[in-house]
Amino acid sequence: MSDVRSFLWLIPALPLTAAVFIASFGPRWLRRHSHWPCILATAGACVVAFMAFHSVHDGVSHFVSAHHGGAAEGEAAPDPHPHKTAVYYEWFKVGEAGTGHGVDVGIALNADALSTTMALMVTFIGTLIAVYSAGYMRGDEGYARFFAEVSLFVFMMTTLVLADNFALLYLGWEGVGLSSYLLIGFWFAKPAAAAAARKAFLVTRIGDVGLFLGILLLWSSFGHHLDYQNIFQSVKAAEEAKTLDYGLLTTACLLLMCGAVGKSAQFPLHVWLPDAMEGPTPVSALIHAATMVTAGVYLVARCTPLFMLAPNAQVVVATLGAITMVLAALIALTQNDLKRVLAYSTLSQLGYMFVALGSGVASAGKAFVTFAVVAAMFHLFTHAFFKALLFLSAGSVMHAMGHVIDMRRFSGLRKVLPHTHWTFLCGAFTLAGFPLLSGFWSKDAILDAAWTAGHRADHYAAWYLVLWFAGLATAGLTAFYTFRAYFLTFWGEVRIPHEAFEHHHGHGEHGGHSDRDGHGETPRLESPPVMTVPLMILSVFALGIGAALGPTGLFEHFVAHTPGFPPPETESLNWSMMLLSTLVGLGGIGVAYWMYVRQPELPGRLADAAKGFYQLSLNKFHIDELYELFVLKPLAGFTTFARIFDLNVLDGLVDLTGYMLRWLGFLARPVQNGLVQFYALAMVLGMTVFLIALLLKL
């Protein structure tokens, strides 16, 4: 296989070309066919990503075989961290990097275990979602715009994960923020969508400023470099020479974490993600579940060499993750909007990943760091599949129900949407951590990481045990709210909102296939195959990928070979942990079954009994209102003050100066009265005074 560097650039370039192509020709000429460039480009990028992945994988196997079998004579020892970096182009360069205190940034891509895994995942899921969108978005006025923006997103996301330096990562980082803004506001005439788009951009930008400052701090303190390897190496060198300023490094890590917290919607910057559900559902699946929101996890994983030296930053990461994990799960218990349940579930699962990232403390053994980070990445990987599946299934429900997504308005859709029912169930079982499915393996690894940190860490050990317990409890909550949503949607009596039929009649060509028996006993409103086939493919992956890659160790043994990760050691499966989490998960499912199928009046009674908590959860713990009260209101007050101050005080002073001068002139005006006699008198008087002064001096 040819050098990976010769084709790596195609991964972002293909979607970019598609985006430009669709934006230029979509609205006029492509119209209904605008999805083709997007699908082809994303699929092409997926193929290239697989080639890149394969090339890195070859490197890893080469190392492993050489490591076990001993390197052949006369051959250089293979790199334990196979990676290839290519600088395609000089982006910006001022002065000389390094000792010259300058900035030198290239468009440089990097193929290593972590980046190719992410790129493969993004493009694979992106392709499936692009296909699904061709059905979901059919007939929409902005069809071409949608696919242009999705292509732009794929370009930015692949740039983010493949970037070899922090500046290019930041480009991707902000770029996915832009795509997210454009796609949340896709139906911009809807006030809620317009507001949500702006909110998402602004809230994530608050975190981005932290990331920006963190990058600058790394640049300015560790040798004026921006590429990963140089920064990591100079930090490592400083550590080995015992000259590392740990306070500085912790600050830098916390600043980087701010960016991760914003992008991955962790507490306290999580408020934008639930509102982002105003965007089209494929967008929610692609951007706000599977890929973009995991960028924060990727960033922290990428910076493992930094974080493992800053245990204080790690504990903050783990704690914020745990808060989000529990809080979001509690909110998800009572939400009525199916997509919002899933959105809060995304928050909660991302919280798990952050707990794992924060648990990988070096004091528990260098190998353990890799174990914990790989656990986070593995959950990221499986979560991308099953959460995309759940969102797309919810989208299929929404599509069929005429854009109604409130679970109080429909139920018993098992027979109405048979395919969607099955795919949603697959996703639900996986999310709930049902034994041997994907979510089970990855969640288990995270719990294992927190447990180990709780026993082996030098500092905060007890706290990590608390986090472990929170994770276990959240596993139960997860199983419960997932199956609550499932039972409410697919079980019980068949209820279908009237919009479902209006919608289908309204768009003749849109849902024509379902009109045949639209008013029968159990009307068939199932979505077209272009939507259900991607769902089925995703189902297979969601169910099986965990078992295929987790217990076999394939994922761990590959990703652990990312440059900068300490060498791993094989950890045996923790059977008791698995048993425990299985019990908790099954318990959650059981309770949901009991409450929503066997005793449907029970939830109402419970809500009445625990009214305070129920209201708190339903209102999302009033965090939005707290922001309104403590941030937005004071800010509005302050800006109004600034406006009035500027107009009246600062500008007033200027005007006052003008008036003062005028007034002085007014005082002096009588002197210029135009009488020649007066001027003569003044002259004589002046001369006299002058002469007297002169005489006195003499």
């Binding site: 900035v103 005439a189 969508a193 507001a195 930008r205 400023v209 920006f212 500027d646």
Partner: protein
């Protein structure tokens, strides 16, 4: 080629005269003449700047030692003739004069191109917006172009000042005659405010030019130094004094045999007085430039002038005229008063820049008038220019210069868009609008694009400027100011900037359609061909600068390096003064540079 460059100055002048002579009856002829002239200027400026940049791109040897001052040969396409001879030698040659000295170097090349580009946009956007006294309007517009280009091109300090003041007159009339309801108040305020400031600048400039020969002759009575107003020579003289005066003292301190206490005292006093001169010169120059930038708190003329000015006036005011202030700091203040720039400039102007970034953003957030919002955003953005400039290092000053161009492109485009919106609906109140995205597709696309450039999205131009400016300040070396603190605070402006811009976009272009009430006009159409022609070049350049900034950086880098070198020398002097025995590394660095 210097003839071509002179043509760039002569063309606006000729067009101004011609369009004034054409008379008010022939509006169409005036417009076409103006467009032709503006396009010709743009072509000339493009040819010259491409030549300049190409030559710089060819220079591959970047590791060559940067000189300590600006060599004359770096000024390309230059013309240098005596305007007012001051001293003649025995054989009749003039050796001291106020000169007409113009040319192109790295600091002004892009600003001259920007001026020519925005002139085309200004002429096009006035095509239908200006219907009264068309010939006078265009005449003033081209006088303004002459003034702006002249300021950037001048290498004689008196010529610089003359052009600097020349820009006031046309803008005064542009605002006062073709402006909004409060136009006369706005024009008067703008004129008096900026004139007052720049008179103090004149004082500073002249006193520096007059004081330098005095100090030189005190130091070396055998020579009779000549009065000069040429900027490169002034800089060389300042640099020499900065270098020699402390050495004179050292020489006495280290050579005790014929030790003369009164001589040492005299030399110390001379150094002190030189420092005082620098400080006063800096403060005096600051007055005019700070008002022009404008720095908070002397910015209040700006929002008013912007709101009242016709669109073309706003575009040129924001796009070019404000840069005269920052350019003045870069061209004159830093190299002519390096010690004062470090001691006073970095803490005072750096601090005020951060205040301006935040304060301007807060004010912008509170506005309901979209033009005022953009005006306050200028206050905020110019804060970044100043912040990078007074980081006094290569990264920061390059970022500052880039941010000047960025602001010219993106805010110029914003004022154009606002003007186009106003021309359609005759209101600038944001609350009157809603959901215009579904009515004006193309305008919405451009607005979102320019907004992203303005808020610094990577891949577009604004990002690189912000990145370099904040990096530069982050990396500020010296005890005069906490660079990390200023940089950190200024980064908050990045969020606030996105906040007000996106609020504006959401209010006007998103949401359900709500058109302002208007009296019986026809159907409101999307952007037409002429309007696209005004916007597209700016948008393309925003993207081009964002993805391929190499020519920009290469062209400015030698001059910026010299400036950074001058500032570093000032840093070494300041450090040496603070600790009587200089720290070893600084002394080594100092000796290392001396050897070279």
């Amino acid at each position: 080629m210097s003839g071509l460059f002179l043509l760039l100055l002569a063309l606006p002048l000729g067009t101004a005269v011609a369009s004034a002579l054409l008379g008010s009856g022939r509006a169409a002829a005036v417009r076409w003449l103006s467009l032709g002239s503006a396009l010709a200027s743009l072509l000339l400026a493009t040819i010259l700047s491409v030549q300049f940049a190409a030559a710089r791109l060819d220079q591959t040897s970047t590791d060559a030692k940067s000189p300590s001052t600006f060599p004359d040969e770096w000024i390309r396409f230059s013309t240098r003739t005596n305007l007012l001879p001051l001293h003649t030698t025995a054989n009749g040659t003039v050796d001291s004069a106020i000169q007409f000295y113009v040319g192109i170097d790295g600091l002004n090349v892009w600003l001259i191109l920007l001026t020519a580009l925005l002139m085309v946009s200004s002429v096009l956007v006035s095509w239908t917006a200006i219907t009264e006294r068309v010939n006078e309007f265009h005449a003033w517009l081209f006088v303004l172009q002459l003034g702006m280009t002249g300021v950037f091109a001048s290498f004689d300090i008196i010529l610089f000042y003359a052009f600097f003041e020349l820009t006031l007159v046309p803008l005064f009339f542009l605002i006062g005659i073709w402006g909004g309801p409060q136009r006369q108040y706005a024009a008067r305020k703008f004129f008096i405010y900026t004139l007052t400031g720049s008179l103090v600048t004149l004082l500073g400039i002249v006193s520096l030019a007059l004081t330098l020969p005095q100090i030189e002759s005190q130091r070396d009575p055998t020579r009779t130094p000549l009065l000069t107003f040429a900027i490169p020579e002034l800089i060389a003289k300042v640099d020499a004094l900065n270098d020699k005066l402390p050495k004179d003292i050292q020489e006495l301190e280290q050579a005790p045999p014929d030790f003369e206490p009164h001589l040492l005292k005299e030399r110390r006093e001379r150094l002190d007085s030189w420092h005082r001169v620098q400080m006063w010169v800096f403060l005096a120059m600051m007055c005019g430039f700070a008002v022009k930038v404008p720095m908070v708190p002397v910015h209040t003329w700006l929002p008013l002038a912007h709101v009242e000015a016709p669109t073309a006036g706003s575009v040129l005011l924001a796009g070019v005229l404000l840069k005269l202030g920052t350019y003045g700091f870069l061209r004159l203040c830093v190299p002519l008063a390096p010690d004062a720039s470090l001691r006073i400039g970095a803490p005072l102007l750096g601090g005020l820049a951060v205040v301006g970034i935040l304060y301007g953003a807060f004010c912008a957030l509170a506005q309901d008038d979209v033009k005022k919002l953009v005006a306050y955003s200028s206050v905020s953005h110019l804060g970044y220019c100043m912040l990078g400039l007074f980081a006094l290092n290569e990264v920061g000053m390059t970022g500052s210069l880039m941010q000047m161009i960025n602001h010219g492109l993106s805010t110029g485009a914003l004022f154009l868009l606002v003007g186009m919106l106003y021309e359609r609906y005759h209101t600038r109140k944001m609350a009157d609008y809603g959901g215009m995205g579904s009515r004006l597709h193309l305008m919405a696309v451009f607005m979102v694009f320019i907004t992203m450039s303005s808020v610094g999205l990577p891949g577009l131009n604004g990002f690189l400027g912000e990145w370099l400016v904040i990096s530069g300040m982050y990396d500020f070396t010296g005890t005069q100011v906490r660079g990390t603190l200023l940089a950190g605070l200024s980064a908050v402006g990045v969020v606030l900037g996105a906040w007000y811009m996106l609020t504006m976009v959401r209010q006007i272009f998103f949401g359900p359609l709500k058109e302002p009430h208007r009296e019986g006009h026809g159907v409101i159409g999307d952007l037409n061909g002429r309007e696209l022609a005004t916007l597209v070049p700016l948008a393309v350049l925003c993207l081009a600068l964002g993805v391929y900034p190499k020519p920009f950086f290469k062209a400015v880098s030698p001059e910026i390096r010299v400036l950074a070198g001058i500032a570093d020398a000032a840093r070494r002097r300041a450090a040496a003064e603070q600790s009587p025995v200089p720290p070893r590394d600084i002394r080594q660095a100092a000796t290392a540079t001396e050897k070279k």
